[in-house]
């Protein structure tokens, strides 16, 4: 399905005609099997499932009546591989290649449900048939990510079938550039990469700027640990980004676009490349787009995996072939940006919102969300959470709903402790503040930030000092090193945090962390440095007692920091199953077995030799009877 069966489109009517013919063709197909081919499902082995479907449909002679569609991520990564059967919308999860023949025989041929593959809603314990009924999806509003299921990313016809490029046609045929900017401004769309700057205003500055040529750029350098929002859009629905950029370029007065993608996203690079090629072949990119006289083309630039290259000026330096160092932005990049020319940089998700706003109007968009944060936001929900995956929610939803209603709460009956929002330099929000709505200003007030959409959930077993140390280590390694406070300050803070985790911290260390954090915030050059102290300052603000326990009592309440904990076996709880003995990598555990035969058989509880123990937690994780205690 990856070839375009059309000549270059030279007018708006051509596009409508092509779309109608594709839609008419699609109407003839009775059944569509939608298979998620996203990275999460791939990790669960969806490739084998896809292969099994291909072969089985061939063998059964169903390749004509049943369409197979391999798409980008559906979001519910926790339950992959995912299969959705249309038109009924039957939702199967955790599908294996062995299930495929039965799905074909029972569901496709005889309309029977396969009970074992249905999803059970956590709250009601009821099995549900369709995707809509699944609690994970029920509270979402998937205006950006929802289309992923309709689209084979290698097939531009799929995108056209769901109305793709109609916003571009509308913009080019019926709207003046100023009108487009007006609508984007009215919609209240703000930058989804973290800054939260009003997109329309940014476009206006770039349009007004002196100098030619102008550039539009797409930031696909998503580098936050545990984040995959932009990846999913670029991999699953690349044309939505291209269409958004094309509309933006027309509004701003640019003829050249760049997409900066990190090379760790090979599928995103590949799918964007295919999409650009297909759009060019159809005349949706290139010279004289749809006969409108407007020229625009896009180049892909691959990043080499430096976190700082997600910063706008560093990104531009990197595209220019220079070292990815940021520079001061007292003169905005909309005036002097890439190659010294006016440049408009937006994040992947921001661009993907643009066609929707043009098609459905600014009023529709601004009806979603809060007073100052409009539309939806895509989050990657990860960490200690039952439903790991990609969620898209209207702005203004409270964090508690994302974590408990959509995310299904914390696994293994453990208690929620904190959620880290806004990427590595975001902040940790405690349980008491979970009723905070998702809103740029309100999150910033809490010492966190919207960021690009990473949500890392932590449970009672997470040590907040250790978490602060982890993020500081990340930022220290990813600091470009250009400016003094970020380069030196993150290192000093990391050293202090490491000391505290090792039980060598002092009360003065905590004060110094706060002072230093403020200094780094005020004195650093770019956003990386100014936000780098956030994880430390927010954990000090909300989890000060944990710091104090480390510093004063030399105790790690969560039982994480190795130097402050020891493992022991509670003899009464030990069943002598020997699982811990097998798990221990340094043979520090003796006993834990059963001696003798028949009635003589006695249990010998396990004992951990503290001198040999390296505190790796393997025994703690292995024990099924909670007999291994951390103190």
């Amino acid at each position: 399905m990856s070839t375009v069966a059309s000549e270059k489109l030279t007018g708006f009517a051509d596009l409508d005609a092509l779309r109608s013919s594709i839609q008419a063709q699609r109407e003839k197909i009775e059944t569509t099997v939608v298979l998620c081919g996203g990275p999460g499902c791939q990790a669960y082995g969806c490739k084998a499932v896809i292969e099994a479907f291909r072969e089985a449909l061939d063998d059964e002679g169903l390749e004509e009546s049943v369409q197979l569609r391999v798409t980008g991520c559906h979001g519910f990564c926790e339950r992959g591989p995912l299969v959705v059967i249309r038109p009924a919308g039957t939702f199967y999860q955790g599908v294996t290649a062995e299930d495929v023949p039965e799905i074909i025989q029972k569901t496709l041929k005889n309309n029977q449900l396969l009970d074992r593959l249905l999803y059970v809603n956590a709250q009601t314990s009821q099995k549900v048939q369709t995707e809509k009924e699944v609690d994970f999806y029920a509270y979402q509003q998937r205006i950006i990510s929802g289309a992923n299921e309709e689209i084979d990313p290698e097939c531009i016809e799929d995108y056209l079938a769901v109305g793709g490029y109609s916003a571009l046609a509308k913009a080019l045929s019926q709207m003046k550039p100023d009108q487009i900017i007006e609508q984007i401004t009215e919609s209240g769309l703000r930058g989804r990469g973290g800054g939260g700057f009003l997109t329309g205003r940014k476009w206006q500055s770039c349009r007004n700027a002196q100098g030619q040529p102008k550039y539009v750029l797409c930031n696909g350098d998503e580098g936050d640990p545990g984040a995959f929002m932009d990846r999913t859009i670029m991999e699953g629905n690349p044309h939505s980004v291209l269409e958004g950029m094309c509309i933006g370029a027309y509004a701003i007065g640019s003829n050249q676009g760049y997409i900066y993608v990190r090379d760790e996203y090979p599928l995103a690079v590949e799918n964007l490349g295919i999409a650009i090629q297909q759009a060019r072949e159809l005349g949706l990119l290139g010279e004289n787009i749809l006969g409108s006289g407007f020229d625009f083309d896009i180049r892909i630039n691959r990043g080499a995996g430096a976190f700082v290259c997600g910063e706008s000026t560093a990104l531009m330096a990197s595209i220019e072939g220079k070292i990815g160092d940021p520079r001061a932005k007292y003169i905005h990049t909309t005036d002097v940006g890439l190659f010294g020319k006016p440049s408009n940089l937006n994040n992947v998700e921001t661009w993907a919102n643009v066609p929707q706003i043009i098609n459905r109007g600014p009023d529709w968009f601004s009806s979603l969300g809060t007073e100052h944060s409009k539309g939806t936001k895509v989050f990657s929900l990860v960490g200690k959470i039952n439903n790991t995956g990609l969620v898209e929610v209207p702005m203004g939803i409270i964090l508690r709903d994302i974590i408990f209603k959509i995310g299904g709460g914390i696994p293994n009956g453990k208690k929620f402790k904190a959620v880290q929002i806004g990427g590595p330099s975001g902040g940790c929000i405690p349980e008491t503040l979970l009723d905070t709505p998702v809103d740029y200003e309100q999150l910033t007030d809490l010492g966190a930030m919207m960021g690009s959409g990473g949500l890392i959930v932590m449970d009672q077993d997470t040590c907040m000092v250790d978490i602060a140390r982890y993020f500081m280590n990340f930022l220290c390694e990813e600091s470009c090193g250009k400016c003094t406070p970020c380069r030196e300050g993150t290192k000093i803070m990391l050293d202090i945090l490491t000391r505290i985790c090792q039980g060598q911290g002092t009360p003065e260390d905590m004060e110094q962390l706060e002072t230093l954090g403020e200094d780094v915030q005020t004195a650093s050059l770019c956003g990386l440095g100014t936000s780098a102290p956030n994880p430390v300052l927010s954990t000090l603000r909300y989890f000060r007692d944990e710091y104090e326990a480390h510093v004063k009592d030399k105790r790690c309440p969560a039982g994480v920091c190795r130097e402050l904990i020891s493992f022991s076996v509670t003899p009464e709880a030990c069943t002598s199953c020997s699982l811990c003995v097998k798990a221990c990598p340094v043979e520090a555990i003796s006993g834990g077995t059963r001696k003798g035969k028949g009635k003589e058989r006695t249990k010998v509880p396990a004992v951990i030799d503290q001198d040999k123990c390296i505190k790796c937690r393997a025994c703690y994780e292995a024990c099924k009877f909670n007999a291994v205690a951390v103190s």
Binding site: A306, Y330, P485, L525
Partner: protein, 264 residues
């Protein structure tokens, strides 16, 4: 920005003193013009500022908003109020100097700043008491932007960041011109002129001398001579002769000319 043309001037106040400068002038340059000293380590009049060392931080009030900016790159604007000595500025400056003192304890310019601003305690235990490099990048910018040879650049990130030739190997392009040493504020770049060659010790590169085509004396690194010939073909002959022979030649031609004039 865009409404200001390069020809116009702007009026701003720095610590209460008013000054009018051409648009595009940085706050640091404007301040120095009226004798207000703002320390700066990555700034050089020839190169401009880099916004990297962060000791030139000042507070500004622009469009009703008060914030900290780096004066070496912040452009002077109409009606801007600048404060170079507030408690907030001094606190940040002291913090940055303490960090630099830990990074480069042997750098004299940093020691002097530390004394002046009273932050004599390094921010952490220096790992190398002899270290001088503060990563201001003036050598890098000199080599890349002024000389346009690009023999040295930054390598690695964060704490590992260093200046050097690619892979710290001998450079094939370093001219041994020594401009980097001239601009380095901490005296970190070491050059030794030997009998046969100029050793750029910091860059692990030796470049042999060019011998004067008249007297045979060494006077300039050979690569530099080639570079100058390419840059300025008209002067190609001039640069192959040592300064002394050039002077003698010029003097000789004067004498010749005056003899000729006398003859007429």
């Amino acid at each position: 920005m865009s409404e200001e043309t390069t020809n116009s001037t702007v009026k701003l106040s720095i610590d209460g003193q008013e000054i009018t400068v051409e648009a595009g002038t940085t706050v640091l340059e404007a301040a120095r013009r009226i004798g207000i000293d703002i320390p700066a380590l990555c700034y050089h009049p020839v190169l401009g500022g880099a916004g990297a060392c962060r000791v030139c931080l000042v507070e500004v009030v622009a469009w009703g908003r008060r914030r900290m900016v780096t004066s070496c790159v912040y452009p002077a604007r109409e009606g801007l109020e600048v404060y170079t000595n507030t408690e907030k500025v001094l606190r940040s400056r002291r913090a940055v100097i303490a960090m630099l003192l830990a990074k480069a304890p042997a750098a004299k310019v940093v020691q002097e700043l530390a004394k002046k601003y009273g932050s004599t305690e390094p921010a952490y235990e220096p790992s190398d008491p002899e270290a001088r490099c503060i990563l201001c990048g003036q050598c890098v910018r000199t080599c890349n932007e002024l000389i346009k040879v690009g023999a040295v650049n930054f390598a690695h990130r964060g704490q590992e960041r260093k200046v050097g030739t690619p892979y710290n190997a001998t450079s094939d392009v370093c001219l041994a011109c020594g401009a980097c040493q001239n601009l380095c504020p901490t005296g970190n770049i070491r050059i030794r002129d030997k009998r046969d060659l100029r050793a750029m010790l910091t860059w692990h590169t030796d470049v042999p001398w060019n011998k004067c085509s008249k007297c045979g004396q060494s006077y300039l690194p050979a690569r530099l001579v080639e570079f100058l010939k390419q840059q300025c073909p008209v002067a190609a002959e001039l640069v192959t002769i040592c300064p002394r022979c050039r002077r003698e030649g010029t003097a000789e031609s004067f004498v010749q000319a005056s003899v000729l004039a006398d003859d007429e």
